[in-house]
Symmetry: none
Subunit: 204 residues, 4 copies
DNA sequence: GATGAATGAGGTTTCATTCAT
DNA sequence: CATGAATGAAACCTCATTCAT
């Protein structure tokens, strides 16, 4: 049994090393040697745990997505009013950005690019990414739906579309923030965004 | 007399071939041979027009950005009321997406990833991308500022931040649309988004 | 456990293969593939031991020089009279030439040419070559100085200059011998040379 | 007729450009483009005058040798006593070195290396180089022979060998002077050398 | 005759993967 | 199991040579 745990631990160690190197060098520029060094193991050992570099890429990607899902549950457990919940959920994203720093999100770019380009990954990546985004979309869609049920948000808005919009906005802002942190203040804009959206959603 | 050749035209031809291959394979997976084949020229000829693959990448990128700038002027020339202008500008983006198809936007992912990862490009990429985004941000910021001056939009909102938010949203939605076109209808969401935002921006 | 390999030994094996190929084809015409084949290893293996072709060139050069230095000590340990020592030292060069054959010296040409041409190597090559020549110069300079102290050689001659002259002569003769072995008999000329020089050096 | 002279002039222009580039970059690193630029003509034009790069190399080499032969006649025309002639001939070499500078001699290294390595040139190069050296050898051999006839130089020395020795010395010293100009003063050593040799040659 | 655009053979170098220890 | 030495396919890039103008 101990052995099996060891194996799992080492697999995770390699995946985390891979994610770090991917973030630093980009997925296709990252080398097995660099990943092995980062994980403090021999180059050959990697192949005891993964079939190929492709296998590492995809495993690292799903590991990354899986890790992110944990965050969602934290938002779901909120118990405030829909309006307050929406504000807190947005605030929550600000915190993630602060905590995780840019690196975590920078990897995402590469996975996107990878998922889009490489035909061999495409379907698998898409499945994961779709789940990833739809998970977050639903968080917001549910809050809005709750608000509509409680009569505080307009009835004629599709909760799913509004969710997509909010996630898109958070996502898109990140890009601008990464590229131009001086002129784009993520925290403040998310706050402004919260005000505009809530104001736009509220039943008059 | 030597062969008379429009060097500029051929340069552009190579860049367009490069962009196509980049879109298909990803920047770092694309090979010089593939670009040459796409451009219907010999491998060596590429090097008569560009110093290195890096040179091609950066040249293709700035060519791509430069092409995009043309679109901005089309929005700027609108002469409606701020509210109407905002709606039309958003609609305009829907059209671009329809016209250009995903490919054009897919390349952007890679350039982002490239600009973020490769230290050697970073500063140059950032300069271009910053200009690119701030250009679009300003288009919306100006519309909102005009609305504030005319008293139709709330005074307490930063036009720049609102601009960043709108661009971010359009950008972020694109990602979801590309990944999950079935569940994310770009056109409809942009329309919903327009309604929410305008409603949220309007002076009560 | 990994394969146990004497990395140093293999490095030397590659350097010797490189020197052989350099001698046959010339330094800049020699290819990595040829060196690998000569060393009976894969092309890629070379790069496990050397950073680049430049690295091989310079390492081979310093290896070559280092090997040559061993010869000097053999001359230094002679214990005859200055006149006899001079004769024996010259004879010793004849022997080296016979033993080593032309090849060893032919390589030297290329290293010279290399050191002179390639700016990147220049300073390092020069340092080594200077040491190499000044080592040999000093061998003869010391013999002559000893002769002056013992009163058998003229006082008004600079031992360093005479050393340079003798080494130059041996060197220059080699060139002619290599090019025109039929008309230039290295052994006999060195003997003649010894007589003329000793006769010219001796106190009347 | 004018046309033919033009062709010859251009050929020489190309050869001189080639020699300059060879001296700067080394023969096998020199490119046709560089030679064409140095000669201020188009790259393609070179091939109107020479079949290949090899053709240029060999033509440049024989042009170089031919040019050098002119110097020999200047020494031959001296009309002093053998001893004085020998001194003057050595002085003459010092002057050449000063005039021509290192560059001219640096090329020689490469031609040697080339002639030795490249089997395809070998026999032709050798023929030329042999002539070149034997030409200079004979200059000195003749002076010494004259001295023997006149009874001022020892009878038991082979004039040819002594000539080879002197040329070798001048040649070999050049190498040391180029590599280590600070410690090896060409002019002074040649003077010392003259004294030693004349003293060694003279009938007691 | 003169030119330089075009080319591909062949060079150097990288790196995922294998495999003996 | 773990390792890293070994490898060759394939990448980038150079450059002698050809050829249309």
């Amino acid at each position: 049994m101990a052995k099996i745990i060891d194996r799992k631990e080492k697999r995770v160690r390699i995946l985390m090393a891979a994610l770090k190197v991917f973030a630093e060098k980009g997925i296709s520029s990252a080398t097995i040697r660099e990943i092995a060094e980062e994980a403090n193991i021999g180059k050959g050992t990697i192949y005891e745990y993964f079939k190929s570099k492709d296998d590492i890429i995809f495993s690292a990607f799903s590991f990354f997505i899986e890790e992110s899902k944990i965050s969602i549950s934290r938002i779901k457990s909120l118990t405030d009013s829909p309006e307050e919940k929406l504000k807190k959920a947005l605030l929550f994203f600000r915190e993630i950005v602060k905590e995780e720093g840019m690196q975590t999100f920078e990897i995402m770019f590469d996975f996107w690019a990878m998922g889009i380009k490489e035909k061999k990954y495409r379907s698998d990546f898409y499945k994961y990414l779709k789940d990833f985004y739809s998970g977050y979309r639903n968080v917001f869609a549910n809050i809005i739906r709750e608000g509509q049920v409680k009569g505080v948000f307009k009835e004629d808005i599709s909760p799913e579309n509004a969710g997509a919009m909010i996630i898109g906005m958070l996502d898109g802002l990140m890009v601008q923030w990464i590229l131009d942190g001086k002129n784009v203040n993520y925290g403040i804009i998310v706050k402004t965004m919260g005000e505009i959206i809530i104001s736009g959603l509220k039943e008059e």
